[in-house]
Amino acid sequence: MRREEASAAAAEAGTPRSPDLHDLSDDSDYAAAAAASSSHSAMRSDLVDQGSGETAKVDVVYEKERVTIHPTQYGSGRISGKLRLYLQQGSLFLSWEPNEGVDSLSSNSATMEIEKYRNLYTIKALPLSDVRFIRKHTPTFGFEYIIIVLSSGLAFPPFYFYNGGLRELFATLKKHVFIIRSDDDPNVFLVNDFQDPLQKSLSSLELPGVATVANAMSRQNSLSFTSSVDEAGHGSDAKHGASSSMTEYVSKQKHRSNDPGRDLSIQVLEKFSLVTKFARDTTSSLFRENHSSGGHTYGRQQQEYVLDNRANDKYKDQQITPDKDSLLSDSMESNKILAWGKPREQPLSVDEWRSFLDPEGRVMDSKALRKKVFYGGIDHVLRKEVWKFLLGYHEYDSTYAEREYLAVMKRTEYEAIKSQWKSISSTQAKRFTKFRERKGLIDKDVVRTDRSVPYYEGDDNQNVLVLRDILLTYSFYNFDLGYCQGMSDFLAPILYVMEDESESFWCFAILMERLGANFNRDQNGMHAQLLALSKLVELLDPQLHNYFRKNDCLNYFFCFRWVLIQFKREFSFDQIMLLWEVLWTHYWSEHFHLYLCVAILKRYRSRIIGEQMDFDTLLKFINELSGEINLDRAIQTRRHYVISQPLTGLPAFLLEPRLLCPSRRTVASTYKKTRSCEIPAI
């Protein structure tokens, strides 16, 4: 009888509810497994509800022991448990219950840590209708695992199947819920596919990432899925040892720019997993703010972020052969540093910079260099040179000669692209609306970009024209992305530092490859980042998160400007150069800017909550943090650092509240009261 039900369900799942080519019934593997597990499920159905005291009947259709999570990411601790699928009142649920005791070879302290997380990860009843997709990982070495991603964009940590059983799991799922293989990634199984993800992303901004994830899924190509970490996080290191001939360089560049699937939403979400534990530790030491409820509230939270498959593959590798270069050891190292504090360093000086280079001009230890910059910044005279490495325009292992050659080649290439629009005559322009519109938009923006900086000051400023030319050329180089407001904000400091049109163009172009998703037409990069930010706050400051939730502020649009142009409008021109070089090292985290958002929000949390700011007030408050940041001369001459908070070794101004504090008035007064005393009678 059970068997009948199961096969009826299977038949139903197989009926063309969606005539999708990727229906699992095509898959002989799955067909076989389905057959195997239908008997399995019939057998299991006897093991009804083990006294959970629930009234409705529970029908277990799948059960697997030794499904294990690795909560600390350190490779030493694991929690084994039992994964189940069960039917209750016609709906399928998933549960995971940890066993007693830790199967771990780890030290006592790690064991205690794991005990702490035992209950945290328990899943009592997860309705499959809440699941967006499940990603399956079948590494060549090590255990298979899955990552379950919820509609909300949240995900559970990976479940490793120590005893196998992954196939049966999917076969069982297929029988009870609508599940299809993603077009673009055969390891992704969409559980509740919805029709028009973009539409949803635009209309349901409450949870921008829901659709973004789905959207990304559907467009995702395998490259971005498998290489997100390396490419974005450690691109430069990964390239170590590879010969860097010009052709290779060029093809690499092309490849990157042609890769539309490099979708931030996935990257952002996936990489969060890697830092969840890490983030909790570091940020609490970073901010030294222990809210009584903070840790405790988190303890009740049961959801984790999307786990990065690559990182976990690495992590597994590490259990076999420790990999010094992996992100994992990286984060562990930073963890130590941040936890124990480290004296702030001087900016990278000319002599020091020389010591990083071998006789032919190669950077011998790029990681040490990035670390140095992360903790100290760069002496301004060196920026022109070092930024090119940080941005990825120069390979760390390139020689002086190669770089010179590159500059020449790239100049020629730049001129060629530039001539594409330079040669458009006014009669041609009349018939080229898109060009006119773009040019118009750029013309309008360059004259309102950093005009108070002497370099861009005054009428008929030549540098403003160079800004215009570079942006217009870029909009031809990347015609699909085009020009978007905010780009001029990024370019202005780059041109100021490079003082060279072609070099600025290429540095900007590479930066746009990192940040281009911010400017996507559908804004999905921004939605993903704001979602990621909200998850980070939820993780690091649950109380503030709750406050935002109650006050309808969860879309985090008040941080839009921070994220879109990486705090450009919040700091002075000098400060922003320092901040950006710190961010560009990707040393601590590729998403350091999001941590910075959290840091600032945490700084003001008591005011935000205390003054009961609503969305409007909060937006105003945050907008007004900018412009109030006046870096005085004294700080500038001390090379932009404020020496008041030696706790973390991070550039201290990032954490210095006075610099971010609106000076005179309170927010309430700016918002509630008029600025002019005069009340016009109408």
């Binding site: 992303s201 635009l202 209309s203 901004l205 519109e437 118009g440 938009l441 309008k444 923006d445 004259v447 309102r448 970009t449 005009r451 108070s452 978007c484 407001q485 905010g486 001029s488 904000d489 400017f519 996507n520 037409r521 559908d522 804004q523 879309n555 649009f557 839009f560 400007r561 879109l564 142009i565 409008r569 969305f615 409007d616 937006l619 105003k620 907008n623 700016t670 918002y671 509630k672 009261k673 008029t674 600025r675 002019s676 009340i679 016009p680 009678a681 109408i682």
Partner: protein, 207 residues
């Protein structure tokens, strides 16, 4: 007598990038024009108190980024708007042609309860440029469009010179009040229910 308590009127300024939205808002609120305003990223607002027929209102004026691709943000900002100001640059035909899509986009995203009668005001800005010689959209053409959309009030302004800005915002404020549900206009302690004042207002400003 009308209540002393102030009411918040939410006004959204829309239009293509560079038409002068930020400048108009600043001219009205701060009586200043600067050509150093930066392109708006995200959204911001300014508030100003106005007195209309013996009552005080707080006008909350929202300024948003003009580039098309940021329009999806509107949902968060347009909600609860009482009046929408559509701005174009009289020297840029395209910015005029886009008024219609701005209007429609607003109605979709703000989804006001009565879209047919939701108050808009149109401003043709930058009439000072080149003594009016570079103008490409005539007043007549603009007024015709406004008429076709249910008699939208129309003003020609210069944020730079401060020309007509005050008058435009007065009309905007009055239209915003009209949009408010009546019971909210008259607070509980107000006795004057359905007085003559309201009759007057509902006929709108003579703009």
């Amino acid at each position: 007598m009308a209540s002393r308590r102030r009411m918040l009127l939410k006004v959204i300024i829309l239009g293509d990038s560079g038409v002068g939205k930020t400048s108009l808002m600043n001219q009205y609120v701060n009586k200043k024009f600067s050509n150093q305003y930066k392109a708006t990223i995200g959204a911001d607002f300014l508030t100003k108190e106005v007195q209309i027929d013996d009552r005080l209102f707080t006008l909350q004026i929202w300024d948003t980024a003009g580039q098309e691709r940021f329009q999806s943000l509107g949902v968060a900002f347009y909600r609860g708007a009482d009046c929408c100001v559509l701005v174009y640059d009289v020297n840029v035909t395209k910015s005029f042609e886009r008024l219609n899509s701005w209007r429609e986009e607003f109605l979709i995203q703000a989804s006001p309860s009565d879209p047919e009668n939701f108050p808009f005001v149109v401003l043709g800005n930058k009439i000072d440029v080149d003594g009016g010689n570079s103008r490409t959209v005539s007043e007549k053409k603009a007024k015709a469009w406004c008429a076709s959309k249910g008699n939208i009030p129309y003003f020609e302004t210069s944020a730079k010179e401060g020309f007509n800005v005050e008058a435009a915002f007065e009309c905007i404020a009055r239209n915003a009040i009209k949009n408010e549900p009546e019971e909210e206009i008259y607070l509980p302690d107000t006795i004057d229910v359905g007085g003559a004042g309201r009759q007057q207002r509902s006929s709108g400003c003579e703009c």
